[in-house]
Amino acid sequence: MEDFEDFLDNRGIVEVDDEMPDEYRQAVFQFIELHANSELMGGLTERDWIPRTPGLRAKMSVLAKTQDEIGHAHLLYMVAADMGIKTRTEMLEDLFAGKSKFHNVFHYRVHSWGDQVAVAFLVDAAALASQQAVFKNCSYGPYKRILKRIISEEGFHMRLGEDRMLRFSQGTPLQREMFQESLDRWFWPALQLFGPDTKPNDKLLRWHIKSERNEVLRDGWVQKFVPMLHSYGFTVPDPDLRYDEDTKRWIIGEIDWEPLKRAIANGGPDSERRIREARENWENSSWVRDALDRVPAGVV
């Protein structure tokens, strides 16, 4: 293991058929599986909004974003399956049986179009920042290459989110009020996407899967989004928020981690419905997979 860690410290890249310690294989696999599950559950959330999205232009982008997320999940499941721990079908079945984890933000209900925009704006930014930090120094080659493409697309989603947020900020008082309510609901879950402070002996950090501590990424997000929300005339739902004149930084109040713990244990406010609907969706589409399996190669 020491030799392996030296290899990683010297920016060594591990490829799928290279020898690697079992612990490393397990940790990387779990990380990619979590990412894949989250893309899939995120894509299904997005899909919920296709019929309800106001305006053709926004509808087109929600449609495309749905395809993006499902496509990302597909690519990630393939990369994870190559690690030889679970097959793609096993990962999906575990997810739909409630045995797997996916990101906290997809355990909440998206109540309004305002919520959908707040998610696109706040959550996508948090996800992008985490993914960029993984990409930066990622020691597992196949994941790093997929991340490169995912990140370019998430960057594009963020621009779409910003564009819609801008429309809300220039909207009627009623629209602004709606968006403020959405921010109040989504600020904390989005912030918790980064996870609790990284432990000193964190393996993902040690093995160059992550390149930055959770609390550093979280703070970067706070420093960016608090002033941005203020500049558009919205408030941040934290009574203890303050600006430190000496360090020129925004300091947020204490974080209650209980909601995060419940959510990732599949006990969040909307976990049950989301997992059930994803499972039904999988079951109802089984005939398509069966039909495709019977098509001779080269026909489709």
């Binding site: 058929d17 449609l63 495309a64 496509g71 690519l75 393939m78 196949p142 490169k148 493409r149 697309e153």
Partner: protein
């Protein structure tokens, strides 16, 4: 329109302006492939200049592409940065249709090297961007309508294939 900005010397012709627009469009990146311009992807069909207005005709990779508005906005911004021009009329054309052959060889190389994305030309096998061996199709559609998901069994790589 007879007003000519002070930056524009009298010797600047319409052809110069058209060339300047093509040049500046070469700096407008595709929103999903930073580092590859819309000119290299073959999205720019025509540029005409009328007074201080440039008319830019673009062709989408597919008509439902969600990036259309964003690309048009970036094109307008770039055009307005050309001295002597102050307006851009950007139109998404319905004909001709985009095809993969419009992607320049240089852009194909960047797609392969930087994004591990292959390009499907004709009906033959698609070579892996990493090892050059033929790949197998796994899904007709990937993250976008213009991309399929392939797999290289030789180097065990999941790749995306840009196609028309």
């Amino acid at each position: 329109m007879t007003t000519v900005g002070p930056l524009q010397p009298e010797t600047v012709t319409v052809d110069d302006l058209i060339a300047a627009v093509w040049n500046v469009l070469g700096t407008v990146d595709d929103p999903e492939y930073p580092g590859i311009s819309i000119v290299e992807l073959g999205l720019v069909f025509s540029v005409e200049v009328d007074g201080t207005t440039a008319h830019v005709g673009l062709i989408p990779t597919f008509s439902g592409c969600p990036a259309l508005a964003m690309i048009a906005e970036d094109v307008s911004g770039a055009v307005r940065s050309v001295p002597g021009l102050d307006r851009a009329e950007v139109r998404w054309l319905t004909a001709p249709t985009w095809s993969i052959e419009r992607v320049t060889p240089k852009a194909r190389a960047v797609l392969a090297d930087r994004f591990t994305v292959a390009v499907r030309i004709g009906s033959g096998p698609v070579p892996c961007p990493r090892c050059g061996k033929p790949t197998e199709e796994r899904s007709l559609f990937g993250p976008s309508r213009c991309r399929a998901v392939h797999r290289c069994e030789h180097c065990i790589e999941t790749i995306e294939v840009l196609r028309s």
